[in-house]
Structures are given as C-alpha cells and as structure tokens.
C-alpha cells in the first residue's frame, strides 16, 4: 500500500536519507527501529512531503505522492502523528479534533459517530473537550494527537515516537490503542525507541542505520532471537 523505493533526502546540505526502501501492506503494523538520528523521523516527514525527497519514489496505493502538497495527503488516507505531538496549543480539544473532522463531504451523522468513537477510546478527551490543548498533560496530548489523526479515517497512520517521555501507565494505553487500530485494519508505520513495545505490536520491523534500512525481519523472529537487535541497537 505504502512503498518507498530508494528514497534520498537532504536537510540543507546534509544528506540524511541514503536510499530508504520500505513497504507497508494494508492493515499491517510495521516498526521502524534505529538509534537516534538515523533518519527514522525524516523518513516519515518525507512521506508527508514535509521534507522533500531528492531522489527515489514514494507511492501510496500505486499513486506517486512525491511532491504532492502535504494538505492533500490526509484525503488520500494518510494520518500523521508527529514526534513532538504538535497539538494546537491554543485550540480546545474539540477544536483540535475539528481540524480533522470539518472536511468537505463530511455528513453530520458520520462526524458525530467519529467524535463519539474517539471519545469512547479516550474518555479523558471528552472530559477536557473545552480545555486548551496546551493545558493537557504529555500523555493526554499524545492521545489527542492520535485521536486527531484517527478522525481523518486514515488507511495508514504514521506514528512518530508515541511513547517518548510518557509514564509507564500511559505507554500501556498507547500500546492498547495501537492494537485497537491494528484490529480495525488501519495500517501503522511506527517509529519508536521502545524496542519491546515495537516488537510486541508490529508485524514486521525495519532497522535503520545511517539513513538507510539495514535489516528487515518479521517481529516474531526478532522476539525469538535478539542478536540482530543487539547488533544494531546495542540493547
């Protein structure tokens, strides 16, 4: 469904991605592991065209999306939860959700159903719906960022370090929500530092090093044999 082929990207003069190739099938949860600064987040940003791919191809459901304006990607079925969450701090929780809900060809019933659905998964967001996004705790902001992507009804969610800086209890909640999305058939490309979590929720895992994919394996294989993990991640 989502396919990156030999993607290169630059930040100014520094060459960050050196030919990344990744596939995510429909409904598949794919983990992207690697040390800090190997280009995991940049890979997601390149898919969203927040960083421009200087070479290679990115296709989504067979359609070339390199150079397609970022704001056109959600309507194709891509949801993005960035690494620093980036909730709209001065907008209320409900208004944050409305940035995804109030879109063309949305009916009132469907809108209501989607809102009820995310409130059902994240009751705290219903409680705080009239509170400014910036006043939420880190974990609540993460939930809002995920909920905001969910109301777009994406076919795939690009999830960038969702558990970073969260309390263990919150990490459990994030894991539950990833499993729920998986059960609903939403594909996920998950960038994480949390190796056990990634191996637990993913179908397949890519390991990146120095701007390129070095290893690809089913998560089950890595769970059984952690030599590769140790080799690339030192954990």
């Amino acid at each position: 469904m989502l396919a990156l082929r030999d993607v290169h990207a630059h930040y100014g003069k520094s060459h960050v991605l050196h030919g990344v190739s990744i596939d995510v099938g429909p409904g598949e949860v794919v983990g992207l592991l690697g040390r800090n600064g190997v280009g995991k987040s940049t890979t997601l940003k390149t898919i969203m065209n927040l960083v421009r791919a200087s070479a290679g191809s990115v296709t989504f459901e067979g359609r070339d999306i390199v150079g397609l304006a970022t704001h056109r990607l959600p309507s194709l079925g891509l949801g993005y939860v960035p690494e620093d969450r980036r909730v709209f701090r001065l907008l209320t929780v409900l208004e944050n959700l409305r940035t995804g809900l109030d879109r063309p060809r949305m009916t009132a019933e469907r809108r209501e159903a989607l809102l009820e659905k995310v409130y059902g998964h994240f009751p705290v967001l219903r409680e705080r719906r009239n509170q400014a996004g910036g006043t939420l705790s880190g974990g609540e902001q993460q939930m809002l960022a995920i909920a905001r992507a969910m109301v777009l009804e994406p076919k795939i969610i690009l999830l960038d370090e969702p558990t970073e800086g969260l309390m263990p209890r919150m990490v459990g909640q994030i894991r539950a929500i990833i499993e729920l999305l998986h059960a609903e058939g939403v594909a996920i490309l998950l960038v994480e530092q949390n190796v056990p979590l990634t191996l637990a929720v993913s179908d397949r895992v890519y390991i990146m090093e120095k701007g390129a994919v070095r290893h690809e394996a089913p998560a089950a294989a890595l769970r059984a044999d952690d030599a590769v993990i140790h080799q690339y991640l030192g954990v």
């Binding site: 970022t70 704001h71 990607l73 980036r86 907008l91 109030d102 905001r148």
Partner: protein, 291 residues
Amino acid sequence: MLAIPFEEFLVQTVNGLVSGMILALVASGLTLIFGIMDVVNFAHGDLLMLGAFVGSGVFLSTNNFWAALLVAVVVIAALGALLQLTTLRPLLGRDPLTTILATFGISLVIQNYALWQWGPSARKISEPIGGQFQLLYLQYPVYRIAIALLSAAIIGALWLFMKYGTYGIWIRATTQDRVMAAAMGIPVPAVHAAVFAIGAGMAAASGVLFAPLVGVTQTIGLDFTLRAFVVVVVGGMGNLGGSILASIFVSLLEAYASLFVSPAQAVIVSFVVLVLTLLFRPTGLFVPTPK
C-alpha cells in the same frame, strides 16, 4: 485632572471609544495577516485608501453609501487575495525583511496608481446617517457613533467567525502551526490567501466608513495605519483580542491627553506607549503571561 470639568472628560471618553473602534477595525486586519503569515503588511493603509477611492467611485454613480461599502470590500478583498498569490506566497518562509520590502513596494505602487488615476484633489462620500444629537454641552454627529457601532459589528462578526466557524478554526490552527495544519488536511495556501483577502476587505471597510469624516485622498489611511502598527505591537503581534483592546486603550489615552494638549500633540502618547511596551513587555500588553 482637577481643572477638567467632568463633562469634558465624558465627551473625550466617547471620542476615544469611537476612534478606538475605527482603529480596531484597521488593526484587526493587520494583526490577522501578521499572525498567520508573519507578514508585516506595509500596504495595509494603501488598501484602505484604495477601498475609499473605489467606494467613492461607486458612491458617485449610485449615490448609495452601502453599495459603495459593499463593492469596495469585495473588490479590495479580491485584490488582497491576488496580491498574496502573486507577491507574498513565493516569499513564504523567507527572511521577514523580504516580505517587508515586498509590501513596501506594493504600497508605493498603489499610492502612485491612486495619484495617477484619481489625482490629488479630495473626493467625497456623504455620510449615510446624518444628524446630530446633544451630547452634554456639544452637538455630536450621529454618524460618528454609527461608525463605531458598525466597526464593532464587523469585528464582532469576525470574532464569531474565528471562534466557531470551520474556516475560523482552520485559520487559528494555521496561525499556530502551519505544518501540522497541512498534515491535518487544511488547505494552508488557500487559508493564507483567504486571510489576506479578509484583512484587505476590512481595510477597505475602514476606508469607506472613515471617508465621510475626512474626504478621500491619498493620505486618508496614513494616520490610522501608523497608529494601527502601534496597537498591533502594543496588543501583542498577531493577537486579535489584544489588538482590539490596545486600540481602545491607546485611543482613550489620546483622547484624555487632548484635554491637556492639542490633539496633534496627543498622538505622542501612542508612541510613548509603544516605546514603553517594547522596553518592558515586548510580547504585548494584552496577552496573558506565558505559563
């Protein structure tokens, strides 16, 4: 203050509120554009002036003030969107200096166009609401109160639109985080053009509303836009509510100052407030202290 009769004080309060509302109308367009694009629009006053001229043209042929107001707003809003598309969009994200120079260039072009097209003599738009009423010891024009109320109505409509409307949420989301707004599917380039159109339309509305008081010349916007820049800074750059409060605050201060000195000297008060704000609270007077 002891030497000032209470009645004069009240009259100046009314004066301050009236000019504060007009100023707020000019400033809210300016601050809206700054907030969303980080563009300091030096052509704002020229769009105001152009709006007044377009309005006077329509008024001349229709003799209808409201038609003049409506046409001027629509024409200048469209021109604003066109300017954004052709001049500012390519500069988005570049050094603020380039956009300052670009809008300054637009300003010069509009000024010279107006001079060439309409000449140096003043044109007139008659006030739609005549008459005067007794305000304590003096006859006060009803139209001045009407302008203040109309300005307040336009600002109120803008506020409701920004607060509850889908497009208002799009604008606020884009103002806060352009990148994330795009990632949520908000058509950011269209939002930018729309905001520039709204800001330009509000400038045109101020120009037409203000025209009956002073006549339409190339310099109609000069005084107000200079002070609009002051209140946009004093109110907190890009903060709509802050700009509106700052407009009223500064206008009241000027009005009270003119009890003691001539109105021309009273303007100095604005600049004193500006300098003090920049020195002691550069994020603006009317913004909540960041937590």
